[in-house]
């Protein structure tokens, strides 16, 4: 388990849903995929989701799947409508300039896996 806030510091992440405090979110793992049905089929509730996809349906997928935080890699920044929808659903949105491999590796290490 690691605090989301701790992970954000390590990836130079930016919180696009500042009303959600990353201090309050604990992550135990992540699912890494850009295919939405793959995420709905295999991600587990409570996991973070690391992806380059940043359109509105991504929020619905996270909501249906029980994902509390999405990490957008390679500087992909969600637009305002997407951030609003995420806030409504209580899903934290983080972006980072690192690529998906690096973000996954840093989380893997942080979790001590």
């Amino acid at each position: 388990m690691t605090k989301l806030s701790e992970y954000i510091a390590k990836i130079d992440g930016k919180n696009h849903t500042p009303a959600i405090d990353p201090e309050t979110i604990e992550i135990s793992g992540a699912y890494v995929s850009d295919m939405l049905s793959d995420v709905m089929g295999s991600a587990k509730p409570g996991q973070a989701w690391i992806t380059i996809m940043r359109h509105l349906n991504v929020i619905a997928v996270a909501s249906m799947t029980g994902i509390p935080v999405i990490i957008f890699s390679k500087g992909n920044i969600p637009d305002a409508a997407v951030c609003d929808k995420a806030l409504e659903e209580g899903i934290c949105l983080i972006s980072s300039n690192h690529d998906t491999f690096t973000l996954t590796g840093i989380l893997y290490n942080t979790l001590g896996l």
Partner: protein, 163 residues
């Protein structure tokens, strides 16, 4: 019309009894799902999820219903000329039906194979089109039924028990 049935092991009698009893549902909801409108597609599933959450449906069950419903709704938007979603909440289960205006599924067994997809570029760009939607619906349902043929409408329905 070709037909496909899946009933999870151990649910045969419960499903049979639901289908023959024709009981009254507690809440009925209808949503239209327009073709290729991925902002509207998902609204029905989201409302159903919120309703069931208020009714106190357990989170694991809620998640199965949400995923199956969203996949089916996206399929109507992605693969058909539009359709309707109809959900009926009973005491102990939810029954969700999706009926669209075609063009139908020529080979349902093939459509059920994980990875099979005829999704177009727009759908793929959004990250749908992995060919895992129908298998996800099956995986999360206690019963799933498809009726379709090429050049005709498609009916996809599923039943999930609350406990």
């Amino acid at each position: 019309m070709a037909e496909y049935w899946y009933i999870a092991e151990g649910f045969e009698e419960k499903v049979q009894s639901f289908l023959t009893n024709n009981g009254e549902s507690e809440v009925d909801m209808m949503f239209t799902v327009p073709e290729k409108d991925f902002n509207t597609a998902g609204k029905g599933s989201s409302e159903v999820k919120n309703l069931l959450k208020r009714l106190g449906v357990e989170s694991g069950v809620l998640r199965r219903i949400a995923v199956a419903s969203y996949e089916a709704e996206i399929n109507v938007a992605a693969h058909s000329q539009g359709g309707v979603m109809h959900s009926a909440v009973f005491d102990d289960l939810i029954h969700v039906r999706f009926e669209d205006e075609g063009p139908g599924i020529g080979d349902i067994e093939q459509a059920m194979v994980p990875g099979f997809s005829t999704a177009d570029d727009l759908v793929r760009e959004l990250g749908f089109g992995a060919g895992l939607g129908l298998p996800n619906i099956k995986k999360n349902s206690d019963a799933m039924h498809i009726v379709s043929e090429k050049g005709s409408s498609t009916l996809v329905e599923f039943i999930i028990f609350f406990a």
